[in-house]
């Protein structure tokens, strides 16, 4: 048994580290450290820097402009990004639509769309969920009815993450209502400029605008924008979800958060002593550290098991379950350690005049925002269903 990275992998890690050190803009790293919503310009600026290095489409094969990394290299890259406060690139074009087009798209779709994803010309968002179809995607109702060379689309999508920055959306739409629910779904690409498409922001409990709802009213979408075949959408959606779940354990984020807690614990005094010397906090942190260390190994074990890095259903579900529990618990620990300082919401953190440091002022909003982790990408209950199905098979 060998738990260590190879020489080549360690050299790769060093390369990633020095790249991040040299190239990650300070304002971007600071916004990430503060848990702020990034501006579109900041994300695109970082994407341009990554693009220059050829490190944008991390999950794509070389022939389509990806770096051709192994699953372990991708893992190392995302860990280092998290540890250095590099923003996570929005996954919609890069990790979701890209791999789908590479597998199911026409040659023309690949040639036209993929380069524009890499260079940031197009910002894609995801139209999967609907008000009545969250984790139960098969019950979606948005309809696309064939009319000559167009589909006429009617319906509503919701929880469209970062849709406010996007110019394109990929959607699951119902193209056949007569067959069983999974069989009548298609995968459609829609320009957000199309007449009859309207995006509205949804304000979340932390005060931020991260998600949107999208309304389709007789929107005409060319049939040429269909990916794969009509009614093949369910197969495509399932393929896409396995890609969505790469880096799902979030080890880097949790490692960073634990580090952040220990820094805070060495500074904040409660009940006459540093939090670091408070046995109740020390105990919570120590057990979380043991959980995280185990998950780190679990993640590596599962990476070693899946050669192409697209983790199978059961593995990625286990990682999502435990990974999100640990991340949520760490946010709770940090928030709780701050005491009364966790309350304020400063408008502009970089220039705030509060005596509370900006990263502390964001602790409670970030905690509340992190409740989403066990809900999105298939709620944790759905992950349990996936594992249970395998466990009780036959």
């Amino acid at each position: 048994m060998d738990l260590e990275f190879t020489e080549e992998e360690l050299a790769f890690r060093d390369e990633v580290r020095s790249f991040l050190k040299a190239k990650l803009p300070a304002d971007v790293a600071q916004a990430v450290a503060y848990g702020k919503e990034l501006e579109k310009e900041q994300i695109l600026r970082w994407q341009a820097i990554l693009n220059e290095k050829g490190w944008v489409a991390t999950t794509w094969p070389k022939e389509y402009g990806g770096p051709g990394w192994t699953a372990v290299e991708r893992h190392i890259f995302s860990e280092e990004c998290a540890l250095n406060n590099a923003p996570r690139m929005p996954p919609f074009g890069l990790n979701m639509l890209g791999p789908v087009l590479i597998k199911f798209g026409s040659e023309q779709q690949k040639a036209e769309i993929l380069p524009r994803i890499i260079d940031g010309t197009d910002w894609w968002c995801q139209g999967y969920s609907e008000p009545g179809a969250g984790s139960d995607l098969a019950s979606l109702k948005t309809k696309a009815v064939r009319d000559g060379d167009d589909y006429i689309v009617n319906g509503q999508k919701t929880w469209t993450t970062l849709g406010q920055h996007a110019n394109k959306i990929f959607c699951l739409v119902r193209t056949d209502s007569e067959v069983k629910p999974q069989a009548g779904i298609s995968f459609l690409l829609v320009d957000l400029d199309t007449p009859g498409v309207e995006m509205r922001p949804i304000r979340l409990l932390d005060g931020g605008y991260e998600v949107n709802e999208v309304f389709f009213t007789d929107a005409r979408v060319p049939v040429a924008n269909l990916v794969g075949e009509e009614n093949q959408g369910w197969t495509i959606a399932k393929y896409l979800l396995t890609h969505e779940r790469t880096n799902i354990a979030g080890i880097g984020f949790s490692t960073k958060d634990l580090e952040r807690f220990h820094e805070l614990a060495g500074e904040v005094i409660r009940d006459g002593r540093l939090i670091a010397d408070n046995p109740a906090y020390a105990a919570r942190a120590a057990e979380l550290e043991a959980d995280l260390e185990a998950l780190r190994i679990t993640n590596l074990r599962m990476l070693a098991k899946t050669k192409d890095g697209a983790a199978g259903g059961v593995e990625s579900s286990l990682l999502k379950l435990k990974g999100t529990q640990i991340r949520q618990e760490l946010q709770d620990l940090y928030r709780s350690a701050l005491g009364p300082e966790a309350a304020p919401v400063a408008d502009d953190l970089s220039e705030n005049e509060l005596t509370i440091p900006p990263e502390s002022a964001r602790a409670a909003p970030v905690y509340f925002n992190h409740r989403k982790l066990s809900i999105f990408g298939g709620a944790n209950e759905i992950q349990r269903n996936i594992v249970a199905k395998e466990l009780f098979r036959g």
């Binding site: 057990e287 260390e293 074990r301 990476l303 070693a304 349990r384 594992v387 249970a388 466990l391």
Partner: protein, 361 residues
């Protein structure tokens, strides 16, 4: 990165699994586990014959292994079969005997002809090497031991009991042969003994052996973690099988989502337990040893209790019966937390690095 067992380890693991599956039914096990000497001497000889005990020490000291991975491979299979054989005591005792060059005794133990155990803990000062009260004093060319030892794992029927006692140089290790033991079965099977020493004659293996004792104990903890992984894995298998068969309200209880999700959470804990054991195995012999071993023992304590309690609950009344094998696995998993430091003791060791904790001792 490579998480596969080496060919040799895979072979050892397969051999043990097959042998125990064929020769160690739960009824046989329970009979041996609760009747003095609380294990099966014939089974012990057979297991030793398969190289099981020899795997605990290096070739140079008379064994065939000696790495933490060798130990974990053996103990995972012991856990899967719910072995009540006194492997833990043998492991820790044998390490110290090998450390201090007791070649003859080592040979007899590796061959299955003799058995040993390690006496560390004392009444009311469990798991705390800093507060050992038993003392050893030199009396001419002999040593005499004074004090009490409790919960000596696997001691009933042991030929050699190694005793940890204070000397003027630190913590010493002393060899006693057929000492006066007071034996009992443990709740989860297997034997335990107390030892009252009133000028008990002993041979001094080392008058200052703190480091070697710590290592033997840490390796024992790794063994317990691996044993828990094997036991938990089997207990979850039993639970899944039972749930598929058991009918309630006209359907198998495995079709109820609320119950399915609870088994999945047990499985998550098992994967985590396996991973942290791997981490502890890898850290053995490195500066990270104490901390990683404690992280493992702490997590295993939590996971073991969770998996056991859920398994009993999911079995309903059946899970409460002596008759049902799973109940004995559940007991063992919970009681592993009571051996060599529980989740709280080890939490303390994670929080306070051992170097600091043992300073000035």
């Amino acid at each position: 990165m490579d998480f596969n067992l080496s060919e040799d380890h895979q072979m050892l693991s397969d051999t043990l699994r097959r042998f125990l599956a064929d020769n160690y039914e739960i009824e046989t096990r329970n009979e041996a586990a609760y009747t003095a000497p609380y294990h099966s001497p014939e089974m012990w000889e057979s297991l030793a014959g398969l190289g099981t005990v020899g795997a605990f020490i290096t070739e140079e000291t008379g064994g065939f292994g000696g790495t933490a991975e060798d130990v974990s491979v053996v103990f995972e299979e012991m856990g899967r079969a719910l072995s009540a054989e006194p492997m833990l005591g043998a492991l820790m005792g044998l390490r110290l005997l090998a450390d201090f060059g007791q070649d003859k005794i080592v040979e007899a133990i590796v061959g299955g002809e003799a058995r040993c155990a390690l006496a560390v803990y004392e009444p009311r000062v469990a798991f705390d090497l800093d507060h050992i009260e038993a003392t050893a004093r030199q009396d001419g060319d002999q040593w005499k031991l004074q004090g009490r030892k409790s919960a000596i794992y696997g001691a009933p029927g042991a030929d050699h009991v190694l005793v940890v006692a204070r000397t003027d140089q630190g913590l010493g290790v002393f060899l006693t042969t057929t000492p006066p033991l007071i034996s009992a079965a443990m709740i989860d099977g297997g034997g335990i003994a107390d030892l009252v020493m009133d000028d008990l004659a002993a041979e001094c293996l080392s008058a200052d052996a703190r480091t070697q004792i710590e290592d033997a104990l840490d390796l024992g903890r790794i063994a317990l973690c691996a044993e828990a992984v094997g036991a938990a894995s089997h207990l979850i298998d039993l639970t899944v099988d039972y749930m598929k068969q058991r009918q309630q309200f006209g359907r198998s209880i495995s079709s109820f989502q609320a119950l399915q999700h609870r088994v999945v959470d047990m499985l998550v804990d098992l994967e985590q337990a396996r991973s942290i054991t791997i981490a502890a195995v890898a850290a053995f012999g490195t500066p990270d040893q104490a901390r990683k071993v404690s992280m493992a023992k702490n997590l295993i304590g939590r996971a073991g209790r969770h998996i056991s309690e859920e398994a009993i609950q999911l079995h309903g009344g059946i899970g409460m019966t002596w008759e049902y094998p799973g109940a004995h696995y559940a007991k063992r998993l919970v009681m592993i937390d009571h051996q060599l430091g529980d989740r709280t003791d080890h939490l303390q060791r994670i929080i306070l690095p051992t170097d600091e904790a043992s300073d000035g001792q």
